[in-house]
């Protein structure tokens, strides 16, 4: 398999294919919102999304120009995502909504970590395979295993992500691999994931 590109975002910075790209002003209070405005891509649904979907959306839009996905069949792209805290941030918000007032439907629909794959599918009109795992840490070996399962079933491309929003903080690492000759190593993926300013 070949690594087509990767993107790592957090309040610590934006890295696309391991290059630091400046997007944040010195005193950003909402780094995701700031990144959205700098992207120059209008998508009103963005504001309704939970932090996980927002980060997946932002990372994808940053990575998209560097990776050519346009010519593929709409269900030859598989999505493989994981995190350790599920939908923790929104779970807390939803619980707060019914403790304080009444249960909020727009919060409840985001109390599942896989909703972000739905948002990406809607954005891109992708009908392919999708799955969300809860793992303790980002584990490149696990991803490579799952990607090989997808490829053995005839998929050409995998969009993979580790998207976290919870007590450990917020971060999103997205990468795209293609079923073509090449080598993607654990170390390489881990290095891309660990990018920091």
């Amino acid at each position: 398999m070949r690594l087509l590109g990767s993107c790592k975002i957090s309040e610590n910075g934006v890295f696309v294919n391991n290059n630091l790209e400046e997007y944040y002003s010195a005193c950003q209070t909402d780094w995701k919102r700031e990144l959205y405005t700098k992207l120059d891509f209008e998508y009103p649904k963005f504001h309704k999304m939970d932090p996980l979907a927002k980060m997946a959306f932002l990372s994808f839009k940053l990575l998209e120009p560097k990776v050519d996905l346009g010519s593929l069949e709409d269900d030859s792209i598989g999505m493989l995502f994981a995190n350790s805290s599920s939908s923790h941030t929104t779970d807390e918000k939803f619980k707060k909504s019914y403790y304080e007032k009444s249960p909020s439907p727009s919060l409840f629909v985001y109390t599942l970590p896989n909703i972000l794959t739905g948002e990406l599918a809607i954005l891109n009109k992708w009908y392919g395979e999708n799955i969300f795992f809860i793992q303790e840490n980002f584990n490149p070996e696990f991803y490579l295993e799952q990607i090989n399962f997808y490829f053995s079933k005839g998929l050409n491309i995998c969009l993979c992500g580790w998207v976290e929003s919870g007590p450990k903080g917020e971060e999103c690492f997205l990468f795209v691999v293609e079923n073509k000759d090449g080598d993607v190593t654990h170390d390489e993926l881990y290095k891309c994931y660990k990018q920091k300013k």
Partner: protein
């Protein structure tokens, strides 16, 4: 009535997370669902929550809400009628 409409617009923006919008961006007679603001079925449910929390009006069945939530005008008229 116009105070109510302005208040409603601010509440809609807050309840539905329409962060990019200002009250003056929402016209009184603009369709809220489908075309126009492009709200969806989950947003419709948040309207039901909004009516209950801010105006003490209970809508038991989401399908009742269809007529009511057409526009800020219809929403304001419904609130005036049921307060």
């Amino acid at each position: 009535m116009s105070d109510l409409k302005e208040k409603l617009k601010a509440q809609i923006i807050k309840q539905l997370n329409l962060e990019d919008m200002n009250p003056e961006d929402i016209k009184d007679d603009a369709p809220l669902f489908g075309d126009g603001l492009g709200l969806d079925s989950i947003d419709a449910l948040e309207f039901i929550v909004l009516l209950e929390q801010h105006y003490d009006i209970k809508i038991a069945d989401p399908s009742e809400g269809k007529e009511v939530f057409q526009s800020v005008n219809s929403l304001a008229a419904y609130i005036e009628k049921n307060s």
